[in-house]
Chain length 672, copies 2
């Protein structure tokens, strides 16, 4: 496209109305925005025309499967900015665009009133209006046609007989409504783009993930766990209130160049290998590791999960162990070295000889991409609807856009979580092109300033239109310094932050709830005795387990709609850099959650929190109750400034629900 | 266009590199940016790829008339942002776009170095590089072909014989340069838009306008001035240092419903009428008012102007008096009222029965628009190259985009100034679609806060890419309250601000230099005895005239390149709300102008000015000289904070040129 209108042509009808600067619109409409069912799209635009005519603007929208547009009138805000809203009510792709026109009738009506008020003779002006009404009647049909024709005739008579009465008839609301319904849109401006909204089910916006290695689920030291063991452990996971169970790859694990415990090079025959070294003699991405069980077992796991309100998410890791069947069957999908060997993964000078990356620039791109899609379709057929995608930033953007768009066109309920820990623009690009949720930098944002800046970017800028962060305090690859150093308080702090800053969050357990904080070596984020390379036997009954606290937090999330979305997030002033305070509010303003966290895992911290009472619609003259949903304690606060004190050893956070005072009886205040 | 990639197709080559968020780019490339000859375009973009390959990016540009792209390599800044620059050197339309690709050779070269430094065996890696070089040699031609083939052969031998030597050969700059010259661009990403730069001659960016009514130029009370009288007065205008002489419409003036002195309804036969009521028996927009003279006289005026460095600008007011020939010959170009009369202009309840607006929505749009274009072409043929366009915001945007684009395609030296005093988005739209310069809100921005905010918007945001403000402290329609109340000091204040805040500025004279400040009535911005409706005899020799000061200011503008552009404008802190301070710097940093203005026309004001010595590359330990170009006074300042005091009755402004200290001799500091 060449911009700037060289060779601009004389239109048959000149365009009077300009529609510009439409929001939300990502990169000039190149990418969709995201919503979940029941959410609102609030569109704004600059809409203006030459001259002084009255404008009329509509927001047009439809589900992609519905040929007919629905229309919502837009309202002017200030400075030629207009706004319209609609709800999305079905999964899939929804479209919207805008249309606006100069409304000659309303312009005439406005001017008529001014002239009449200035005591001018408006007989001819009334006739101008009659002509407009007649022309509209000629175009209209049904009831409007008759009504308009009759009104025109009546006004023509009154123009000669009773001008005040004619002016009165001209300004009737029924006439205005009929004229708007039958407006002449031949010269209307339609915005040049149809903008897309990808509508997902609610879990895209609100979910609590639990990552667990099935092979560590046997509960018996020495015996590798199976999918059926994993199914038995679901009660434990469900009790903690999670709703997504994410399993690392469950496929056969390569034997060639297998890595041993703690990632050492020469594995012993006993070593179980990394689940991300996918593929062996038993099969590849569509097979299940024989030690884990059968497809039948997998289905039993899924069905038990469903009973408990859990959904099983699989890992999509497009890479191969050297003994993956693809390597023999499709050498052309890999890059070869001049010595005839297959190019292994590397991050020089590091070599990963147990992993062969697929060559996405192969000449056999058609076959490769089809095969990779067939992996997703296979697991969809087995009932899987959530995929956590491993390292998507090392495969071409075009591949993901094609794959996700294609899959979601037929299965709009499928969700993809991008595990891309890389540069910000790459992470955002993956979200733009289709990933439903994305891992974020949350794990490394520890100070109040870092958290505030990062979450303002995620929730208050255009980023929120396409990037849904999923907050993980830990993963099998990430044991942050903060968790390594801060002990149990650090885990409680990061849990509270993740679960309340993020409507989507997850933990890698049982390492998390058991506060596993031993690193491979100082300065490394790798776990010592990482489950990536060995089976771990976890003591789920440890008295130090955070399982109960996690269960409490997840139930608070479920019961408070304010925590089901990130867009209302607002940070509040505290006069102590170690205490962060923020709130989320439900759309109807009835549910207000205020979270206060001591970010220091070592010391008791206290300070004064400032709350914006006007935003919360609280009367500054009346007391209000802060109900701590974690402890059930209730504090009565007054005015905007109130004191908090948090001991990290006991509980480093408040999750308050604000309760309004409803009445005073016998000197007692009552709150709801 | 439908966004969001439904039906995204599998490409033959996946696109590896993303180019996004390109700047400058107006509304997704819909509108051009503007430059003048010799100016720079600095383009930036987010450029990134999947994975970890090294990228190479180029900025491609060409004049629209040149089929071949020129290429400039881009440089990475931070956070995946890249930058490239080029100069525009010819009038007309210039195009630019971007291209980027993953550079397999440079990626290989980087990784090879890492492996070699880690003492790994790189024999096979060298062969990978040899393959890349051979493939490139096969594609290359001329000298590069031979060089690359030879280098490949050499490296292949060294891989077996002398690895350190092979690595050394691999990293040679000549090899890198040859590989970049012959890069494989088959998988390159080319940015999807060709962005347009409209390049004007310098006067589009830097001009000083003087508006004058020729009929007031006779110098003899009672005798209407002619174009030849006007030509005689050009010495006076040139002496003040202006370079554009703008004449209100010079066409025959309608007699039907002519307005009398001070805009009263019933004109006497002596009344001369408003030049904007265009057209009468003697002709319309292509005719010259007989009382002003002939086309021959107009050409003499132009030729005298040229001798004096002045260019004549005409008014383009597309509207008709009731006796304009168009009204009889083309009734279809006007809107008719039901009583068979032509619709006159109105702004209810006000009526302008001496003006008939053209109906831009007429069915005869083709004929009307062609005729309007022929008016411009006619005056272009008479040598006119600057048009001040009256009220463009009351005609369709499409019309202007078509007209200006078409005219400039054949006459790229033609400049259009938009006289649209209306809502901000409408003013910006007119600039976007093609107007070279625009009247602004300057006349009504009086306080330091108003001036600072407005000029930051005009010079530090994307607005500057398309909107070139032309600052007028007064016009025949605008005698601001500030000028009405503030006396001679107010005129000096507004002159200094206009001439230094704006590289483009203008005054309506002699009303301005003679400090004419009598309004039609209190609360009105209309002049009493306005020249719009009557001839005025001005006393150019008044001792109170500001002509000398204006001449001084214009010469300062001419001699200081810092004042030839608005983009370097920067405001500086002063601890007094009545004093504003700002600077402009030339691109080479050699010319630094600091302007300090007392905005209070009534009182002496003083304060401390803060200057950013680092920005000016001044050593904070050394004194520097502030040379006031208005008075030739020289002040030695030290450090960032210095005292100023300005008496508005004498001179309310400093226009300082900063002179650096070059040496000290015999205890004396010398500055240049």
């Amino acid at each position: 496209m060449t911009g700037g209108g060289v060779g601009a042509v004389k239109p048959t009808f000149p365009r009077r109305v300009i529609i510009e600067n439409v929001r939300p619109e990502i990169d000039g409409g190149r990418f969709p925005i995201k919503r979940t069912i029941g959410e609102r799209v609030e569109a704004t635009a600059d809409i203006f025309a030459d001259g002084h005519d009255v404008l009329y603007a509509v927001l047009r929208h439809r589900h992609a499967s519905d040929p007919d547009w629905k229309e919502v009138p837009m309202e002017p805000l200030v400075n030629d900015r207009w706004q319209g809203k609609f709800l999305v009510t079905a999964e899939g792709r929804h479209l919207f665009t805008l249309q606006a026109w100069t409304d000659r009738f309303q312009s005439w009506s406005r001017d008529l009133a001014k002239k009449f008020d200035a005591a001018q003779d408006v007989a001819v002006d009334i006739l101008v209006g009659v002509q407009l009404i007649e022309a509209t009647a000629a175009r209209a049909s049904g009831k409007d046609k008759g009504f308009l024709a009759a009104r025109a005739t009546e006004m023509r008579k009154l123009a000669a007989a009773d001008l005040p009465q004619a002016v009165d008839r001209a300004s009737s609301p029924e006439l205005k409504a009929a004229m708007i319904r039958n407006a002449d849109r031949r010269r209307a401006t339609t915005y040049g783009r149809q903008l897309v909204v990808v509508v997902d089910r609610e879990k895209a916006r609100f979910s609590a993930w639990y990552e667990m290695f099935p092979r560590s689920c046997s509960g018996q030291p020495g015996r590798p766990g199976t999918l059926l063991d994993c199914a038995k452990r679901l009660d434990y996971v469900a009790e903690m209130g999670f709703d997504v169970l994410y399993l690392p790859p469950i496929h056969p694990i390569g034997r060639v160049n297998r890595k041993g415990k703690n990632n050492i090079e020469n594995a012993t025959p006993d070593d179980v290998g990394s689940p991300w070294a996918i593929g062996a003699g038993e099969g590849g991405h569509k097979a299940i590791h024989p030690q884990l069980g059968t497809l039948e077992d997998f289905k039993r796991l899924q069905s038990r999960a469903t009973q408990l309100g859990l959904e099983v998410a699989l890992d999509l890791a497009y890479q191969c162990a050297p003994d993956h069947p693809y390597v023999n069957e499709h050498k052309e999908w890999f890059r070869m070295r001049p010595d005839g060997t297959v190019q292994y993964a590397e991050n020089p000078p590091k070599k990963y000889q147990d992993i062969y990356p697929l060559d996405f620039e192969t000449d056999e791109i058609q076959e490769l991409w089809e095969e990779l899609r067939s992996v997703v379709l296979y697991w969809i057929e087995q009932g899987v609807r959530i995929f956590r995608v491993d390292n998507p930033h090392t495969k071409p953007f075009d591949f993901w856009e094609w794959l996700i768009t294609d899959i979601k066109e037929h299965h709009p309920d499928v969700l993809f979580l991008a595990e891309a820990f890389t540069r910000p623009k790459v992470m955002y690009e993956l979200a733009k092109l289709g990933f439903t949720q994305s891992y974020s930098y949350f794990a490394w944002r520890n100070t109040k300033w870092e958290l505030t800046e990062y979450f303002k970017e995620l929730t208050q800028t255009d980023v929120r239109e396409y990037f849904r962060p999923n907050l993980w305090p830990n993963t099998p690859d990430i044991l942050t310094d903060f968790l390594q150093q801060g002990g149990r308080p650090a885990f409680m702090i990061r849990l509270t932050l993740a679960a309340t800053l993020g409507a989507n969050y997850g933990i890698y357990g049982p390492a998390f709830e058991l506060c596993e904080n031993r690193a491979l070596r100082p300065g490394s984020e790798e776990y010592l005795d990482s489950e990536k390379y060995q089976i771990r036997d976890w003591d789920l009954n440890s008295p130090h387990s955070l399982a109960k606290l996690i269960g409490k937090v997840n139930r608070i999330r479920q019961q408070n709609v304010a925590l089901h979305s990130d867009w209302s997030l607002r940070f509040h002033q505290v006069d102590n850099e170690q205490i962060i305070a923020y709130s989320k509010i439900s759309d109807d303003l009835l549910n207000i959650i205020v979270v206060v966290v001591n970010l220091d895992p070592y010391h008791v911290q206290s300070g004064w929190v400032d709350l914006p009472l006007d935003v919360f619609h609280l009367d500054p003259r009346l007391p209000y109750q802060m109900h701590d949903l974690l402890t059930d304690a209730r504090y009565v606060w007054r005015g905007p400034h109130n004191y908090v004190e948090l001991n990290p050893q006991l509980l480093p956070a408040h999750i308050f629900c604000i309760r309004r005072r409803v009445r005073t009886e016998l000197g007692m205040d009552y709150f709801v």
